[in-house]
């Protein structure tokens, strides 16, 4: 008898729809491989159901808050069920872009310069008086993004100082903490890493949004972005990115799968933008794309992740 697997998806995060797509696709792949599957759209019945059903493994196909930030991981630790992806601490750090960037910097992983602000520093400490300083130090354009949010929701590239406060309001809509990050012009590359004890980088995916910006629309509308797998980079650059991706995966103690988003500056330096501990599994997601290029079909990929987690 194959192990019974509960697939967590949906929930109440802003990426609910993306997560439902990932989750249903994963569940279908598992069923096709003969696993008994329990699909759970996360709500208040989740913990009682998991306690009663006692699945052999929980596959976390949640994206965004509560699913990627350590919340669900913590609960699964208490219930005592094995699950896909890293533990609570890695999830917490991975989901908070400011925390993970600090980790990158501390271990010599290049990442674009940034400052962070929160609504309390703005409201209670007059931090808005610092915006001209930030603008001067980081230069224009500036990327404004919520510290904890996926799918590029709430992200804006600001080229005029007068647009900065409005972009901060938008980003704070998604998370109380906001990053103001130096914009690095270059080639966007996603490095997907799989494995646990033994880890490997899958072929790199190069992302070329038709509009120039890999935003929500570009991510999830087929045809709005061109992808090249493997990325059209020279061997030394590819190798450097692979090394950085492995280092990042290990540094944050990722498990089973992660995706490291990198931008290769025009001078050839790869900068790590962020780390995803629960990479998307939709039809336009990057991890399955890179796996495919390595000859690992979607069902094989899902089964591989499951076997690693058991």
């Amino acid at each position: 008898m194959k192990p019974r697997i509960a697939v967590l998806m949906g929930g109440r995060s802003m990426e609910r729809q993306v997560s439902l797509k990932s989750g249903r696709r994963v569940a279908r792949a598992l069923k096709d491989r003969g696993y008994p599957v329990l699909e759970l759209d996360v709500d208040e019945s989740m913990v009682p159901t998991l306690k009663a059903e006692k699945p052999d493994l929980v596959y976390i196909a949640l994206h965004g808050k509560y699913g990627e930030d350590g919340t669900v991981q913590e609960l699964l630790e208490i219930i005592g069920l094995p699950y896909t992806g890293p533990g609570p601490l890695s999830s917490m750090v991975g989901f908070d872009k400011a925390l993970s960037k600090e980790c990158f910097l501390a271990s010599g992983i290049p990442t674009p310069d940034y400052y962070s602000l929160s609504s309390s520093t703005l409201n209670d400490m007059g931090a808005s008086a610092l915006l001209p300083d930030v603008w001067e130090k980081l230069g224009s354009p500036l990327v404004v993004k919520p510290a904890a949010q996926g799918s590029a929701l709430g992200v804006e590239i600001v080229t005029e100082f007068s647009e900065l406060p409005g972009a901060i309001v938008e980003a704070i809509g998604y998370d109380d903490k906001v990053l103001l990050e130096k914009f690095v012009k270059g080639t966007e590359v996603a490095a997907s890493v799989i494995g646990d004890e033994e880890i490997a980088v899958l072929p790199l995916a190069e992302i070329v949004p038709v509009s120039g910006f890999f935003d929500f629309e570009a991510r999830y509308t087929p045809g709005k972005t061109d992808y090249f797998v493997p990325a059209r980079l020279d061997d030394p650059t590819t190798k450097r990115i692979e090394e950085i991706a492995l280092k990042t995966h290990r540094l944050l103690k990722c498990r089973h799968a992660s995706r490291v988003d990198v931008i290769v500056a025009e001078d050839g330096t790869p900068y790590v933008l962020e780390l995803n501990i629960s990479p998307g599994m939709t039809e336009t997601s990057l991890l399955p794309l890179s796996a495919e290029a390595a000859g690992i079909g979607f069902e094989d990929l899902v089964e591989k992740l499951v076997l690693l987690s058991l």
């Binding site: 409201n123 929701l153 045809g223």
Partner: protein
């Protein structure tokens, strides 16, 4: 072998209209609002739970025991004759006189909008809509590539003076039609007053323009004196749309068009290509439901409920919304339209509202030019009075937080740096 990955190999084949379809974060965000733990003022949902289940079951079994073969068969494109006879009665309740043979049944009013858009609009043709306007009408007309002239509303409906100026300015390039929701406007909640209705009709005659009068909510008046539809005053230049969605059920997908017969005949021809006919099962259900007079009973019950919910919402708004906000006070329909202080942005506010488990539709959805950033539409028909109070209180807190932040960033003092 090229390493390029192509997700949609057909993207070169799409028509220009289909090319406009894309994933949107707002649409994805709205999907969160369907969850039961969120108080949603976003949808336009009528309170279906108020229909007596025994009535529904009785009507359904009568339909199936009597004529299941017909109910499950193809039907005429125009719609079933007995239904059209009943619909004439529904129209008469608001003073619109029509003969059954001049009615064209459609799969919801939405289908009528789609078909009319295709009948009248060539790319670049001007049409007049209200600003704000019904989002579904924008969606139906847009793929045909119209140039949309927006005429603003005030508490007495469409600004006819602005309409006249626009028409004068356009000169010979007349718009193909003027689209209006004169009673209990969606999203604005306002009703066009008597004198403006007559003025609008006289403008239509003078400039030889058609009017599409969309009247889904007219019968849902719970306060004040009825105002007769444009089609009851002078049907000669009016294409009149009505629906059973708000008085019986949106799930049965039944609407109809009444207008000059050359136009309804074209609607019929196009409808044939679109879906051949509207489902007989729905039509027979509605025929029996209407013939038994159950709809009148249900309508009276709905009006009592909606009035009380409107009161709950305006009361809660007065208590929880900040100074400098205003809202319409509808005498019927489903929606209240809120205007916040000029500098606020309801689209940017939506994620925080959803995080606080309350939802609304941001203003820009209702404008052809996506203006209206400081406005929002609130539905009052679907949530109970308690949930309305709680949801508006939550929105009030979100607004307070937003305003604090705008203040800290100096965004509440436009003009200053």
């Amino acid at each position: 072998m090229s390493p390029e990955i192509i997700f949609d190999p057909f993207s070169r084949l799409y028509s220009e209209a289909a090319g406009l379809i894309k994933s949107s974060e707002i649409r994805d965000l709205m999907s969160v609002t369907g969850r039961s733990d969120i108080i949603s003022f976003a949808g336009g949902l009528p309170f279906i739970e108020g229909l007596p289940p025994e009535d529904i079951a009785g009507v359904m079994s009568e339909v199936l025991s009597g004529g299941y073969a017909q109910a499950l068969q193809y039907g005429e494109t125009e719609g079933m004759e007995p239904l059209r006879e009943q619909l004439v009665e529904v129209m008469a309740a608001e003073g619109v006189k029509a003969e059954p043979e001049h009615l064209q049944v459609t799969t919801g009013s939405q289908q009528a909008l789609d078909l009319l858009g295709r009948i009248f609009i060539n790319p670049g043709d001007a049409i007049v809509m209200e600003g704000p306007t019904y989002v579904g009408a924008l969606a139906a007309f847009r793929p045909n590539g119209p140039k949309i002239i927006s005429v603003p509303l005030d508490t007495e409906g469409m600004r006819i003076d602005v309409l006249r100026d626009e028409l004068e300015r356009m000169g010979e390039a007349r718009p193909k039609f003027i689209y209006t929701v004169p009673s209990f406007h969606n999203p604005a909640g306002v009703t066009m007053k008597e004198s403006r209705r007559d003025e609008l009709l006289s403008i239509a005659r003078e400039y030889e323009v058609l009017i599409i009068e969309d009247n889904p909510y007219g019968l849902l008046r719970f306060e004040g004196e009825p105002v007769t539809p444009l089609a009851a005053r002078d049907p000669s230049r009016v294409i009149y749309l009505e629906t059973l969605s708000k008085i019986i059920s949106p799930g049965i997908r039944l609407g109809w068009v009444f207008g000059p017969s050359p136009i309804t005949e074209r609607v019929a021809v196009l409808k044939q290509g679109a879906d051949l006919c509207t489902g007989n099962l729905s039509q027979m259900f509605a025929t029996v439901y209407l013939a038994k007079g159950l709809w009148k009973k249900n309508l009276e019950a709905l009006k009592v409920i909606y009035r009380s919910r409107r009161d709950a919402m305006t009361g809660a708004l007065a208590e929880h919304f900040p100074e400098g906000s205003s809202w319409t006070d509808p005498q019927g329909g489903l929606f209240i339209w809120v205007t916040l202080p000029e500098y606020l942005n309801t689209e940017k506010m939506l994620p925080m509202a959803i995080e606080s488990k309350v939802a609304f539709v941001p203003g820009p959805a209702f404008y052809a030019d996506r203006s209206g950033a400081n406005r929002m539409r609130l539905n009052f028909s679907y949530s109970s009075e308690d949930l309305i109070e709680e949801g508006i209180a939550r929105l009030g807190k979100v607004l307070e937080k937003e305003m604090r932040l705008y203040h800290s960033l100096g965004l509440d003092r436009p003009g200053e740096k």
